[in-house]
């Protein structure tokens, strides 16, 4: 079995695949790659199934050695990678010869860079997924971020596939957005028109303590809707989870934008809590999830409201484009 030696783990590097769905009733969120599209494309570029496990590096990459060699690709953000000192192109499969060292540095673009290897990273599956769930210390490699000296197994794969690269058009199309498109959150009606104007008219900055659980935003605070006030106005149309004395905790969706006390929005991300007790003003659309995964602390973002039909069309178009022949070049 081929292995990867971790000489330096980087700032925060975890094993991720597309996550584990179906365990919400246990309080287990799906987790999975923050930028799932980059992981999916990376896997295709080295001839894996889209959902194979790869390494997700955050802001600062690591140093890896491949004693038996490997077919590799880097996707997502540019971490200035070199292979034995030679620059490595993003989105293009390459071969590491036995003993060669892949070195990555600080990001030059977004938050996350993916290293995919032919055969995938082999770890013990937890609830059907290789994804690391940091908070609970489950899944992935020992339930934690990689450390210096770790040795990762890679999965079996027969021979090398042809080296593939992503088309220039695909790189351009998948470029992360800084204007995130959103649909109304389940409590959007609790917020008055002035609050909506503030939310959609303001630029927010991603806070330093953002992580895979959620992205905290800095900027204009959204006033909390007064308790119970709107319920009387709108009667049965009011959000039903507003009980006496405030919000009743309910299931929360990936990309939900909560407005907690203090009014600074929080976007729930892949390792999200499964339920929450804060009103949600909006929800990032699925077609923009990969953009969320590339947001760095101090990035400035805005929100653009779209209707349900548009959100659906954008996701359909994205999936159709990803499935089209013009994405991967042989």
């Amino acid at each position: 079995m081929r292995v990867i030696q971790v000489q330096e783990p980087g700032l925060f590097t975890t094993v991720q695949d597309l996550g584990r769905e179906g365990f919400g009733p246990l309080g287990v969120s799906a987790s999975g790659a923050g930028d799932a599209i980059s992981l999916r494309l990376g896997n295709r570029l080295v001839g894996n199934v889209e959902g194979a496990a790869g390494l997700e590096m955050t802001l600062l990459g690591g140093r890896f050695v491949f004693p038996e060699g490997a077919l590799l690709v880097l996707t997502g953000s540019d971490f200035g990678a070199t292979l034995d000192g030679e620059p490595v192109e993003l989105w293009t499969a390459f071969e590491a010869k036995p003993g060669q060292t892949l070195r990555l540095g600080p990001t030059r673009s977004g938050a996350r860079c993916y290293l995919c290897v032919r055969g995938g990273i082999a770890v013990k599956s937890f609830l059907g997924s290789a994804s690391t769930h940091i908070l609970s210390g489950l899944g992935g490699f020992d339930g934690r971020a990689l450390r210096k000296g770790d040795v990762l197994d890679t999965g079996a794969a027969n021979g090398l596939t042809r080296k593939r690269k992503l088309s220039a058009r695909a790189v351009k199309t998948m470029e992360p957005r800084k204007v995130l498109r959103v649909t109304p959150g389940p409590q959007s009606l609790w917020f008055d028109e002035a609050s909506h104007r503030l939310f959609y008219g303001s630029t927010y900055r991603v806070a330093e303590d953002s992580n895979r659980m959620g992205l905290r935003l800095e900027g204009v605070a959204i006033p909390m809707p007064p308790d119970g006030a709107r319920q009387e106005e709108t009667g049965r149309n009011a959000c039903p989870t507003r009980g006496r004395g405030g919000m009743i905790s309910e299931g929360v969706a990936l990309g939900a934008i909560q407005v907690p006390e203090g009014g600074l929005p929080v976007i729930l991300f892949v390792e999200q809590q499964t339920t929450g007790g804060y009103p949600k003003i909006a929800n990032v659309i699925s077609a923009d999830f990969h953009s969320l995964g590339q947001l760095r602390p101090r990035d400035e973002i805005r929100f653009d409201r779209v209707d349900w039909e548009t959100a659906r069309d954008l996701l359909r178009q994205q999936e159709e484009f990803l499935a089209s022949e013009e994405v991967i070049l042989e």
Partner: protein
């Protein structure tokens, strides 16, 4: 920018002429790939039973394209495959499940005892809770351990059970500023709820004790100690017993 104040995706289902309350559910889009089903506007045992019944029926007869379910006090979040399914289609499917809730038989609740060492370093907020209510630690412990709690749902993090209801004498607001790290096994109270932190996480509940029991286990050991609908009782134990149980 013009922001319409009426969300375009709010629909209702009203109970039919000859049907029971089981159909009194309401749908609301939560995101472009999820839908919330609400059973009423209050935490009631009835609403919670409806949640458990819908969850059970969806687990017994899974729907292709429904990927995840997040139950809570009186709602169920349903995550589905978008864009393959639309909200309307999921609603239509769920309507047929809702019509059958009366025939769902929930399993007999399990009764689970959780040993807790109260106070001191195990429950750093016990003294404050006592001060707020003007009671002795012994009385607070007696109250907390006297009730039989219902597991409303597991949420927040893996295996975190929302337990209700706390005896009225112990109802206490959560901390103004959450702790950055709560020790694993900590038993907290907030409002009229109580719960056990399965992992060291941030947390805003007031900590009154700690259990040596693991709340979330490996896959082969059944994962979460508690499930929806279980009944829970806390048993006070000494620090020595805590240490002994922790070693097991």
């Amino acid at each position: 920018m013009l922001v319409p104040l009426v969300a375009p995706c709010v629909r209702y289902t009203f109970a039919g002429m000859d049907t029971s309350l089981s159909q009194d559910a309401r749908f609301q889009c939560a995101s472009d790939q999820s839908l919330l089903v609400y059973f009423g506007q209050e935490i009631t045992r009835h609403a919670h039973r409806q949640v458990m019944k819908l969850l059970r029926l969806l687990q017994l007869e899974p729907v292709a394209g429904i990927r995840n379910l997040h139950p809570a006090y009186c709602s169920l979040l349903v995550k589905f495959d978008a864009p393959r399914l639309r909200h309307e289609e999921v609603e239509a499917i769920l309507e047929r499940y809702l019509e059958r809730l009366d025939e769902v038989i929930l399993p007999e609740p399990r009764h689970v005892e959780i040993p807790v060492c109260y106070g001191r370093e195990f429950g750093p907020d016990l003294a404050d809770v006592c001060a707020i209510h003007g009671m002795t630690p012994a009385r607070a412990i007696e109250l907390h351990a006297s009730a039989k709690y219902l597991v409303y749902f597991l949420g927040f993090v893996p295996g975190f059970a929302y337990l209700g209801e706390l005896p009225t004498g112990l109802v206490t607001p959560r901390l103004a500023t959450p702790r950055r790290r709560v020790a694993r096994g900590s038993v907290g109270i907030a409002g009229n709820q109580t719960g056990v932190y399965p992992f060291a996480t941030p947390g805003g509940w007031r900590l009154i004790g700690r259990t040596p029991i693991k709340m979330f286990l490996a896959e082969q050991d059944g994962l979460s100690l508690l499930s929806l609908g279980d009944r829970v009782r806390f048993t006070p134990i000494s620090a020595d017993r805590f240490a002994a149980l922790e070693k097991e």
